[in-house]
């Protein structure tokens, strides 16, 4: 936990918002929504195919979490379709609009 005096305003702001997200359960909802959408749009399958290649390359026995994370995360971030990104951002903005003034 970060002591208050170390945070600047923005960071505090962000922390506060995150807190709010968690408390209201919105973060979980957003996470579920994102997961569902990613599966629906085939992101997961694409990424799985990529994983298979990586694993075949590295050898099944020698795969580590770090390897996977390093290889997969950037690709995963890039593969998210625009529509999903837009929708999620929209929801976040709505949440901010609702709760930032509280």
């Amino acid at each position: 936990m970060i002591s208050i005096h170390k945070m600047n305003k923005d960071a505090q702001m962000r922390a506060a918002i995150n807190q709010k997200l968690i408390e209201t359960g919105e973060r979980e909802r957003l996470k579920e929504l994102l997961r569902a959408k990613l599966i629906e749009c085939g992101w997961k399958d694409q990424l799985k195919a990529h994983c298979k290649e990586v694993i075949k390359e590295k050898g099944l026995e020698h795969v580590t979490v770090d390897d996977l994370v390093a290889e997969i995360t950037p690709k995963g971030r890039a593969l998210v379709p625009d529509s999903v990104k837009k929708e999620l951002l929209q929801r976040i903005r709505t949440f901010l609009a609702q709760h930032a003034s509280l």
Binding site: K9, N18, L34, C51, G76, V80, A100
Partner: protein
């Protein structure tokens, strides 16, 4: 409204904010209640409008969380929307989004890693050999499995029972009739048995039922009619004592057993529902007729006394219809008999009475006038429900009894003396009883 925090009842959840010294004094702080916290709280309270002082009060984790939360809330209240510009909000939103995506990716990584380590990651893959085996076929004329479309339509199977070559798609119904098993067969057989009991009561001397084939049209239900039409085609060279013909005539509207006179000479041509009554010694192939080369002289003679016997030009087989079969004339029959049995052969046919049971008189007259009618003599058992065949064949009813046709859409079972039974059968559809314009027989009976 700001309320003083309650003393934390639970044991310390995590190390408090400060170091070991805090631990010791944290408990002390707890037990001592709020005394220590007062200054801080007071500070907090006062700090609503100014930066809070760095608070050194040792707190348990929960308490510190709560405090932070409250301070942050206050902060947020300070920084209202007016204090933020859209770009900052947008930046925050992007950050939140990035966090969420990162979470998803990480989650996915963990899943994959676990699958790899547990060994089920590649389970859903097929080996390339199988993939090649079951590849989708994309050639013209084939379906995706590589099978030829329509392959079985033209294939012919040989029936193990009658050794005929049957089209594949018609094989099952044929077998049903051929073996005398299956729902229809048993139903019709039972009916025939029931009929024969009635019949035997009425006419005991008539061994030859000319309308044995007339199976069950007397029961006069449409569906039976339809079924009978397809059922009727098993040819039995000899009469089936269970022929329903008598009962049919009895039961039929007139209830006349008109068939009496004519029936005696008519052999059983059809067994209902294609049951091959095995009583007859001649298990002919279910072709339309009998191949006379295979018969001995005695057989031939007996056959010719009961059946039409006219040799069809198409199939070179003898007609197995009754002696009054309308497809062939008496002349033809005489010729055949002379050919086989010598010049002294006599046509045993008794054509005296028209088998008019259930004949529409108009029909019967039409039929009489059509003795010369030469319908298709191919009496193939229409086990294949080629109703049209039976229709057209209709024992010659096809063309001949157009008027009888008018009432019946489909030829119900074309019974034996073709016309008679056919018309009779059709009759069952007609509500009005056949007025007996034709003459003699009905008059007698009446």
């Amino acid at each position: 409204m700001w309320r003083p925090p309650r003393p934390c009842p639970a044991p310390r959840l995590s190390p408090p904010l400060r170091g070991p010294r805090a631990v010791a004094s944290g408990g002390g702080a707890r037990t001592s209640g709020r005394s220590d916290g007062l200054p801080g709280r007071a500070a907090g309270r006062e700090g609503l409008s100014r930066q809070p002082q760095p608070c050194r009060r040792p707190l348990c984790y929960e308490q510190s969380e709560r405090r932070l939360h409250k301070s942050l809330q206050m902060k947020m209240e300070e920084m209202s929307l007016s204090g933020l510009d859209n770009s900052k909000l947008e930046a925050i939103a992007q950050e939140i989004y990035a966090d969420l995506v990162e979470d998803s990716c990480l989650g996915f990584c963990f899943e994959v890693h676990r699958a790899v380590k547990c060994g089920y990651f590649f389970l859903d893959d097929t080996d390339p050999d199988s993939m090649k085996d079951f590849e989708i076929v994309d050639q013209p004329g084939l379906d995706i499995f590589g099978q030829v479309f329509n392959q079985w339509k033209s294939k012919e199977c040989v029936c193990p029972n009658c050794s005929r070559s049957i089209a594949a798609s018609r094989f099952a119904p044929h077998l049903e009739k051929c073996l005398g098993m299956g729902r229809n067969s048993s139903r019709i057989a039972n009916r025939r048995i029931a009929n024969s009991n009635n019949m035997n009561k009425s006419e005991s001397d008539q061994e030859d039922n000319d309308d044995i084939n007339d199976n069950d049209w007397s029961y006069g239900s449409e569906k039976k009619a339809k079924k009978r039409k397809s059922d009727k085609l098993w040819y039995l060279p000899f009469q089936n004592p269970n022929s329903p013909r008598r009962s049919k005539s009895l039961k039929h509207k007139n209830g006349f057993s008109v068939c009496t006179s004519a029936s005696n000479t008519l052999p059983l041509l059809f067994s209902s529902s294609g049951e091959l009554s095995n009583s007859d010694p001649f298990k002919y192939s279910n072709s339309a007729g009998i191949s006379y080369e295979s018969l001995g002289p005695e057989e031939l003679r007996s056959l010719l006394t009961t059946q039409c016997g006219v040799i069809s030009e198409h199939t070179k087989k003898m007609c197995t219809r009754s002696l009054r079969c309308p497809q062939h004339t008496d002349e033809q029959r005489r010729t055949v008999r002379i050919y086989f049995l010598g010049p002294s052969a006599v046509l045993p046919e008794v054509e005296s009475s028209l088998d008019n049971d259930s004949f529409d008189m108009a029909d019967s007259q039409a039929l009489l006038s059509r003795l010369q009618w030469d319908g298709s003599s191919d009496l193939s058992p229409s086990d294949s429900g080629s109703s049209k065949t039976s229709d057209t064949q209709g024992w010659g009813l096809g063309s001949s009894s157009s008027e009888s046709r008018k009432a019946k859409k489909k030829k119900p079972h074309l019974g034996l003396a073709g016309a008679a039974s056919g018309l009779g059968a059709s009759k069952k559809k007609r509500p009005k009883p056949p007025a007996p314009p034709t003459p003699s027989i009905y008059d007698d009976i009446n």
